[in-house]
Symmetry: C2
Subunit: 345 residues, 2 copies
Amino acid sequence: MPVITPIILCGGSGTRLWPRSRAVKPKPFLPLVGEATLFEATLARCADPAVFAPPIVVTGRDHLEHVTAQSQVAAGLQIIVEPAARNTAPAVALAAARLPAEAIMLVCPSDHYIGDRAAFIGAAQSAAALAADGWMVAFGIEAVSPETGFGYILRGTAIDHGGYRIERFVEKPDRDRAAQFLADGGYSWNGGIFAFRAGDYLTELERYRPEMARLVRKSVSEGVQDGAQFYPDADAFAAIERESVDYAVMENTSRAAVIPADMGWSDIGNWTALHEARSRDAAGNSVTGKAELIDCSNVMVETDGPRVSIIGLQDVVVVVDGNEVLIVSAAGAQQVGKLNGAENQ
Amino acid sequence: MPVITPIILCGGSGTRLWPRSRAVKPKPFLPLVGEATLFEATLARCADPAVFAPPIVVTGRDHLEHVTAQSQVAAGLQIIVEPAARNTAPAVALAAARLPAEAIMLVCPSDHYIGDRAAFIGAAQSAAALAADGWMVAFGIEAVSPETGFGYILRGTAIDHGGYRIERFVEKPDRDRAAQFLADGGYSWNGGIFAFRAGDYLTELERYRPEMARLVRKSVSEGVQDGAQFYPDADAFAAIERESVDYAVMENTSRAAVIPADMGWSDIGNWTALHEARSRDAAGNSVTGKAELIDCSNVMVETDGPRVSIIGLQDVVVVVDGNEVLIVSAAGAQQVGKLNGAENQ
């Protein structure tokens, strides 16, 4: 089995989990499910030294304080501090450029929830084996509902290690098309988890995004190491255009593969998704903090102090955080990021 | 036109308006509709010296501070401080025993809302005219919905001044019976507003509740005047059994009359009733304090500080008061008094 280097990406603001997730302390650094934060849980999932090398965290200056505070236990952890946010393709390239060409990278978002750790490890090992054969591998998350907020991956012909060639990537579909995908059965969600050799990633980036590859190389060669932290050159990095790993590499390479992963995954993309990831009582209610519920079902309450008393509600999330109270229906959860409070932080 | 002495009753706790209404500052003393408190609005409605004599307020020690603070403008106001809460029949008897026999009393709860002041004055004058003829008059509130929380009054034969003999009083009916009353058309709500001569009230009380009449007389004769405040004797008053004006007198007297009153009345009996009494926008929403509503209809928000952001709710009341947050459906409004917060104050 090849040893895997976890590349843990800490960006994003998580405005749809406002007011708990705020610009100053966003989603990855909050204990949203259980006692660990999503970032801590991501580190813990990749902590077995028989499978994983010490992780590389790629994050921005704004989040550095949280990363260092929450990664004390991860021995040998390296941090790459992005001078600017440029989406995932350049972030992953920074890590790739700092690794030997044959190193197997596992790109992990740090703001997702994965309930079944063993299934994750299994999928990671299959993906790593494919990567060692030169494949660029995406995790294909078992699609369990016709979500319109995710990209989809269509499986092609089977290859080794339980993987498949990727027939194509599909942009976020509308509800009808998503339902069709689900009925078809050949589609998975694209969870943004990837495995490839560092050298292969850089080779493909060089081929499809040569300017990005050049600027990343320059930024790394002119960067500064400070203890466990590496600071790429800011000018070179700032000149890079924002682009995701999907767009820049995965949708272009002829070696794209998918490894199916059924591992209790959730992107915790909004309050309703978080409610579903939490443990609930027989009525579907979930309470964190001081609350009393009468005649309620599928209600989630999270309060950091005030008591919340609710009578006669269904399918609602209530969050009390400091000087903000959010009350949102299941149907309205996607709109939380549009609230004045979430936008004007 | 006879001059009318308003008897303003300040008791009750209003637990169904928790957490705004609390034991230490209950419903009558809160600005629930508009800027005046319900008590202040009750005083203001009876302030025209061409119609009304200075009012007598009957209240308990617990509320005395609020009564004095909120009645500065009422010239000549007298306060009777009840030594104990014994419901309305003894409270009204205290006031009656302190007035000349021919004085016309108008008994007014101080925790109701009346939107149409002119209609109130008109009904009060008709009731006073009937009282001057020896009738014991109840206001019959125009019934506009099949409420199960009110007592009903059935009109009998017409008498003078637009009034009717009372055919009978009906206890709080169930929903079907209430709907039948509404269809019938001869029924009004009993709003607890009464007019009679002080002497007539005491005569009827003597006839139907002689022990209560005796103890009230004793309590008054042994009471102490202190400025504008009168303190009936505590021992005599404490021995009285609790009973309402309705039970002790109105349902027994052969001189019961009703004067129909269509005056925008609400008992503000719960949060939904309060929402209905407030001004609302085109979507039926009403906001007091800092709030943002998206895709909401018939939502009322009242917050004393924190911002409340709501998405996708209908027919809900949200109240933020100090360290309490209440969220209640229209259907659940009657249950607010059962919440731990409301019960354990």
